[in-house]
């Protein structure tokens, strides 16, 4: 377990220090969430209705900003070869990187969301659902993103293709996440939407390390 924790902690440290993507993702999320109410105008009912969808899409796009570097940095500077020869299997390497991305991006995005929900006049119960949906849905963003990041590893400017690969795969996350908030606003139980979101995230976390590891292996041989 120690090599796994070592890699996880190093990646969180790298994301937090200068040049890491964590601060960038949070700033992007905050800026989009601030600009949309300014653009839409002071219709509080409309803003509350839009909040779930806008904040979810903004969170996914924000997480995407740092996703292309998930394996790229290690690939370019030669650390990935050293990591690949370590006792840690590549599947667990991918899982550690997914977890590090979530801790440094997904979790802070979820924690910031209640504050940004104030700008949309979102009712407290719906804000809570938004927070919970981001908390359980963002691991899927990191996991599915890892597949895209590993596929575009040896491409120059692969970051431009990455959204084309993973955004369609992430549509269920946005549908269930924003849907849960909308259900809560309508006074209905968001339990089913949250359940489906959790199931999707769980499956993504379980399967994507294998896909990402296979793709990293392929790129190391290129």
């Amino acid at each position: 377990m120690k090599p796994f924790a070592t890699l996880l902690l190093r990646d969180i440290k790298l994301a937090a220090r200068s040049g890491g993507g964590a601060a960038l993702a949070l700033s992007f999320f905050a800026l989009v969430a601030t600009l949309v109410p300014l653009g839409v105008g002071p219709d509080l009912r409309l803003l509350a209705r839009m909040a779930g969808g806008i904040l979810w899409v903004a969170a996914v796009l924000a997480a995407l900003l740092s996703l292309d570097r998930l394996f790229q940095g290690d690939f370019e500077d030669g650390s990935l070869e050293v990591i690949a020869l370590s006792p840690l299997p590549l599947e667990l390497t991918a899982l550690a990187k997914i977890a590090a991305h979530w801790f440094s991006t997904g979790l802070p995005l979820a924690l910031l969301s209640p504050l940004l929900a104030l700008l949309f006049n979102l009712a407290p119960p719906a804000t809570l659902i938004l927070f919970v949906s981001l908390l359980i849905g963002t691991p899927a963003v990191s996991a599915v993103g890892a597949i895209g990041a590993s596929l575009t590893l040896s491409l120059k400017r692969g970051g431009l293709i990455l959204p084309l690969i993973i955004l369609p795969l992430l549509s269920p996350v946005v549908i269930f996440g924003a849907g849960a908030v909308a259900l809560s606003l309508d006074g209905l139980s968001p339990g089913n939407a949250l359940g489906l979101l959790a199931a999707f995230a769980f499956a993504a976390m379980l399967l994507s390390p294998f896909a990402a590891a296979a793709s990293v292996r392929l790129n190391l041989g290129s």
């Binding site: 120690k2 090599p3 070592t6 890699l7 190093r10 440290k13 790298l14 220090r17 200068s18 040049g19 890491g20 940095g73 290690d74 500077d77 030669g78 650390s79 990935l80 070869e81 050293v82 990591i83 690949a84 020869l85 370590s86 006792p87 840690l88 190391l220 041989g221």
Partner: protein
């Protein structure tokens, strides 16, 4: 402990270009092999093939370990210490953080004495972005030592090093072979180990 590594009829192609074929060699414990050849002859590709990153077009690589022969690349990877032509260092991490990370990743303790061995003891708390190319190479050597692997694959081990750095590499390689390790190094310079060389 690995007792020998044998390449049998190895062939390598990159894209449509054939780099080498029918390559045979054998390195036993305590020996070093210098892989020589012009730029683009396939030295790095051969090292990547031994490391298991690149699949051979034909032939196989057999490692004899504890009187058991094995040609599985993944199994072989667990014995390999890798020093590629890139140093694999992060500009944001300090020298000691970098070494600790790799040591723990390979399941060993982080030994600050390794920094002393490679002449970086005074730079321990310096972020890697401030290191010179030669100092980065020395840190990569410390990482190689921390991994404690019997089969060293070195790509241009003398690159970017000054005279004392080159003596250090020669000393570390001699010690590794003396302890029964195996070294395969792609290089343009003599290893100085009384070793065999392979011309690609």
């Amino acid at each position: 402990m690995i007792s020998s590594l044998t390449a049998e009829n190895l062939a390598c192609a990159r894209g449509d270009k054939k780099l080498f074929d029918s390559l045979n060699f054998r390195v036993s414990a305590g020996q070093a092999l210098a892989v020589e050849g012009a730029n683009g002859a396939g030295k790095t590709s051969l090292l990547r093939m031994i490391a298991g990153f690149l699949a051979p077009v034909a032939g196989r690589i057999v490692v004899k370990m504890d009187a058991r022969e094995n040609d599985d690349a993944e199994e072989r990877g667990k014995s390999i210490g890798w020093l590629g032509h890139q140093d694999g260092l992060k500009p944001q991490l300090t020298v000691i953080e970098q070494l600790t990370f790799f040591a723990q990743l390979y399941g060993g303790p982080a030994n600050p004495a390794l920094l002393e061995q490679v002449g970086l003891a005074r730079q321990a708390d310096l972020p890697c972005r401030y290191l010179s190319a030669g100092q980065r190479r020395r840190l990569a050597l410390a990482r190689l030592l921390a991994a404690q692997r019997p089969l060293w694959l070195l790509d241009e081990p003398f690159a970017a090093l000054d005279a004392s750095g080159q003596r250090l590499v020669a000393h570390l390689m001699a010690r590794h072979c003396g302890n029964g390790g195996i070294i395969i190094a792609a290089t343009h310079e003599a290893l100085g180990l009384g070793n065999e060389s392979l011309k690609l």
